[in-house]
């Protein structure tokens, strides 16, 4: 009640938001370390410029967008075809009150957007600090967009979050089926998506679609691309776990039937059937999450043994080292990234990394030649 009284007194200053203009202390849903439990927390968002528009130097939230997923549409790298694929995107207007200097979301969508912005900021600054260079301009985040699926390119219309490389933008969809912590409020899920953008800009050097256009008819191109997608998923789960210090970050938002298969604390080895890049499949399409979980678990184990910061930096260096191979030859075998990670680690950690990779990637042990004994 004291809070209500204070708010009343503040309002007598006759200002649209009371005497207190909205600052950048925002109340969000956050993972509270070290136990990983979810709670409300006040955070300072250093990059947020316009609170109501949820707009800052890291991201700009946009509502009402209609996104066409048409594989026949012109696709260009670095978001240059964005205007051809996205229509009607407009400014969001978050509702909030200012209570004792803290911006408090006044409806569910606003809480989603504030929380997601905080997670985007945290992940972007964290990965940028590791040397992952992203474009300086704020990335669009399409909040609750309408997705128009094309004949060959489909995406769920709810209960998902994604980095859409073809628009160089993120998509946050409404939660209609899953009723636990929404993806936009899950620090790990947002960090996972930001990692995909890092993979695009560092691993592919922002040239994924040019590489696809140049190599789509190469023998084995699809299999190579599938293996890269799986590795991309694994790296994204690794960074999500590293940023949240939670190898089971997905369990806050999804049932065990989904999250258990991606728990990074579980020991996983590469299934020989995965090597060809055609398995596993789900609903007739390649499922990158199975092999990706192997990649994530190996990197997580390495991080536990040699330090999270050290391994994170080695993964970024590894992606950068891999870039020319991906872009120029469009070839990739499981273990290629891990080889570069081992190479980027301090010399004292390399032997142990090689031993771990030999155990986890036994069917592709040859991938580590030249770095590991």
């Amino acid at each position: 009640m004291a809070s209500a009284t204070r708010a009343l007194l503040v309002a007598l200053c006759v200002s649209p938001t009371g005497c207190q203009a909205p600052g950048n202390v925002i109340r969000i849903i956050d993972a509270v370390n070290p136990d990983g439990s979810i709670a409300l927390a006040d955070v300072v968002l250093t990059t947020l410029g316009d609170v109501a528009a949820v707009e800052g130097s890291v991201a700009t939230f946009l509502g009402g967008a209609v996104i066409s997923l048409d594989s026949a549409a012109p696709i260009a790298d670095r978001g240059e075809a964005r205007d051809d694929l996205v229509e009607n995107a407009g400014t969001v207007r978050a509702r909030f009150v200012v209570d004792d200097g803290v911006v408090v979301a006044a409806d569910f969508d606003s809480l989603l957007m504030f929380s997601a912005y905080a997670h985007f900021e945290r992940a972007t600054l964290h990965l940028g600090g590791l040397g992952a260079t992203l474009p300086a301009s704020p990335v669009p985040v399409y909040f609750n967009p309408t997705l128009q699926n094309g004949p060959q390119l489909t995406f769920p219309k709810s209960d998902n979050a994604a980095f859409f490389a073809m628009t160089d933008a993120f998509v946050l969809l409404p939660m209609r089926i899953l009723q636990e912590i929404p993806f936009a409020m899950n620090t790990g899920v947002v960090a996972h998506e930001v990692s995909h953008r890092v993979f695009y800009y560092v691993g592919w050097n922002g040239g994924l679609f040019a590489a696809i256009a140049a190599h789509q008819y190469d023998a084995g191109a699809q299999q190579s691309f599938n293996r890269v997608k799986a590795t991309d998923e694994g790296v994204a789960d690794f960074f999500a776990a590293a940023i949240t210090a939670d190898p089971a970050f997905l369990a806050k938002s999804t049932p065990g039937s989904i999250s258990d298969a991606r728990d990074l604390s579980v020991t996983r080895v590469l299934d020989p059937r995965f090597i060809a890049g055609l398995e596993p499949q789900q609903d007739g399409q390649y499922d990158p999450y199975g092999p990706g979980a192997v990649v994530a678990a190996a990197l997580w184990r390495l991080a536990q043994d040699h330090g999270v910061d050290t391994v994170e930096a080695a993964v970024i260096d590894g992606l950068r080292a891999l870039s020319s191979q991906l872009v120029q030859s469009f070839t990739y075998q499981f273990g290629d990234l891990e080889r570069e990670v081992a190479r980027a680690l301090p010399a004292a950690d390399c032997a142990a990394a090689c031993a771990l990779f030999a155990e986890r990637y036994l069917p592709v042990a040859g991938a580590f030649t030249g770095v590991c004994p």
């Binding site: 809070s3 009343l8 007598l12 009371g18 946009l62 009150v97 606003s110 899953l178 636990e180």
Partner: protein, 185 residues
């Protein structure tokens, strides 16, 4: 409601009636549209209020009206919106002091028909309740805006009925439609 009753009592005792007309008490109910946070469309909202009005036409010779109102409302279900794990609910309480023109253009016996346009400051106190699983907290905020209402009204004997679209400045992306039923005291 206790506050409203007390407010009315104060008004009643301090009002210079009957020289300036009879104080009337109205119970407005409202429906509204509130712009969604994602900028894509509007949500429905419901409001309930209590207002005390004082026509000044008799004593001043000009069709003026003073009105003090209390209202509360919520957009969406009062218990909140969200998913099972996280819910956010908001309730607003408004206190407005409005003044303006209430012009009667048809008067036949004890029946009257007119139009009114009122404006004035409006204090809105907002309570936000956020729940995560079994834990919840409430936070409060207050804003002051200019409120404006305009619409027709009808009188019959001591009864008064009004229909008033309203909005605020700066615009808070809400439009309201109030139906008020009142009685002179």
């Amino acid at each position: 409601m206790i506050v409203a009753t007390a407010l009315f009592a104060v008004l009643q005792t301090s009002a210079p009636a009957p020289a300036c007309g009879d104080l009337d008490l109205q119970v407005p109910v409202g429906l509204g549209l509130e712009g969604r946070a994602d900028g894509d469309g509007f949500d429905a909202a419901a409001y309930l209020g209590l207002s005390a009005g004082l026509p000044l036409s008799v004593c001043l010779g000009v069709p003026l009206r003073l009105e003090l109102s209390l209202a509360t409302g919520t957009a969406g279900p009062p218990w909140g919106a969200g998913v099972d794990a996280v819910e956010v609910a908001r309730q607003d309480g408004d206190l407005a002091a409005l003044t303006g023109v209430a012009y009667v253009f048809v008067k036949e016996g004890d029946k009257g028909l007119g139009v009114e346009a009122l404006a004035g400051p409006r204090l809105r106190l907002t309570r936000v309740r956020t729940r995560i699983y079994a834990q919840s907290e409430s936070r409060y905020g207050a804003t002051v805006r200019a409120a404006a209402l305009v619409g027709p009204f009808a009188t019959y004997k001591a009864w008064r009925v009004s229909l008033r679209p309203g909005a605020s400045l700066p615009w808070d992306r809400r439009v309201q439609l109030w139906l008020g039923i009142g009685r002179s005291l």
